[in-house]
Amino acid sequence: MVVDLPMSNVVRLEYRNVTMRFAKTGSEGVLTAVQGVSFSVRDGEVVSLIGPSGCGKSTLLNIGSGLTQPTEGAAFVDGERVEGANAHVAFMLQKDLLLPWRTVAENVMFGVEIQNLPLAERRRRAEALLENFKLAEFAGHYPHQLSGGMRQRVALARTLAVDPHVLLLDEPFSAVDAQTRMVLQRDLALTLKEAGKTALLITHDLAEAVTLSDRVLVMSRRPGAIIDEIAIDMPQRDNPIARRHDPKLGDYVARLMDRLDIGHNSLDQQPAGGAA
């Protein structure tokens, strides 16, 4: 077991008063996806973001990775304002986004290849990551020959290969079956802890949010704003399976359900949320 060291106070990722508006398609007016969101993630910290569908979670992730610019406010990585794609941030989605014409090893090297690292260094990183994720024997396979869980692990290896300071994870395991998901959660938690990576995790799975994170942020319905912040006071952030046995898990999940209005009649009267 990894000893829990005191968390560094260096802020890796920060959102300052971020507001995002879109022009509504097909009608007049604007749609406010995110309203005045501010929070920060310290070095080595894992923070989860939960909230109803369409509350702008993925918008925040796109802003953090520099793919979209917010209408107001800004995101900062290592104190620098994010104004475009940033080599210190890497993201991973629900879709594995593996390239079918590349082998597993070549897919892992995709990011470092774009960043023009020397070939020997690319190979070294891919080999180390594949070894770490127990995929070494599949290095020469093509994605269609792998199971869904293995493909997500390759995607995670590709994300880590660029050695980012910050990982942005958008429901990375929601497309795999429940048992595979638990294994992947364990691999992710262990990797994040060992590498000391900072991560922002978007998820719909409340137990996943609690077992993987140091803190959970709860967002409201559109326009999305942060309505609660829950520090997870449980040991063993590197072992979500052990955390699942912790009696406190139920209390945290119940509190999150309450904050999200799950189980209240009011939910049924809400208009259906749009796509995130």
Binding site: N62, S65, G66, L67, A85, N86, A87, V89, A90, F91, L93, K95, L97, L99, P100, W101, R102, F110, G111, E113, I114, Q115, Y142, H144, V162
Partner: protein, 265 residues
Amino acid sequence: MSNRAQSALIRKGAIASFVVLVVFLAAWQWGPGLLGVPSFIVPPLSMVGAEFLHAWQFDHLLLHTGVTVAEVMAGFILGSVLGAVVGYLLGMSPIAEFALSPYILALQIAPKVAFAPLFILWMGFTVYPKILVAILIVFFPVMVNVLTAVRGVDPDLVNLARAFKATRAQIFWKIEFPTSMPPMFAGLRIGSTLAVVGVVVGELVGGNQGLGYLLTFGEGQADTPLVFVSIVMLTVVGGIAYLAVILAERRVLHYLPARSLGGNL
């Protein structure tokens, strides 16, 4: 399917296929005689075989075939390259596609072979009008498939590359170009057979070389066996062109599961 079951299927299929061939050739040889069809309507197989040897010796069959093959290759290669380039450019520029799509559609609807007489008026009885018809006819299936493929690239994939700070050129060569390969090969397969059609129509309209010319020559002489020889040779040329595309496709798209490639052929 297990390997053994599959190889049994292939063996049985090959035997059945061979039986069909034998029956067909036998029907060709003896069918006309049995049904009382005169040989100037359907010459039996042996007569066509004899005509093949005769044409080889006295009618420059090899030369005519060679001319047709060269025209097909030139038209197919130039038409494919042009179709692919235009497909990529339009795929990357929605404004250009929007502006040009009505004209492209009009040109696509127009029967390309109808341009053959026009091209012959422009360029005379040379190989160029035939190549031009082939270019025009090959262009569209390749262009449309490439355009659709570039348009259909997963935007998340492009975002992934952009997040790694990919340049526009890197996005093209590492994502868009490889993504377009399977649909492009589907277009090339269609193009390979259409190229033969384009060239033959050009040769039928005017000129004194090529298998299309040999067809009209045989028709003028009421030499039905020569017409049959020309048709067989054209089929062989088209078949080789198609096979060449399939072999190239298997090499390039080796990463796809076997079933999604062109089946038996």
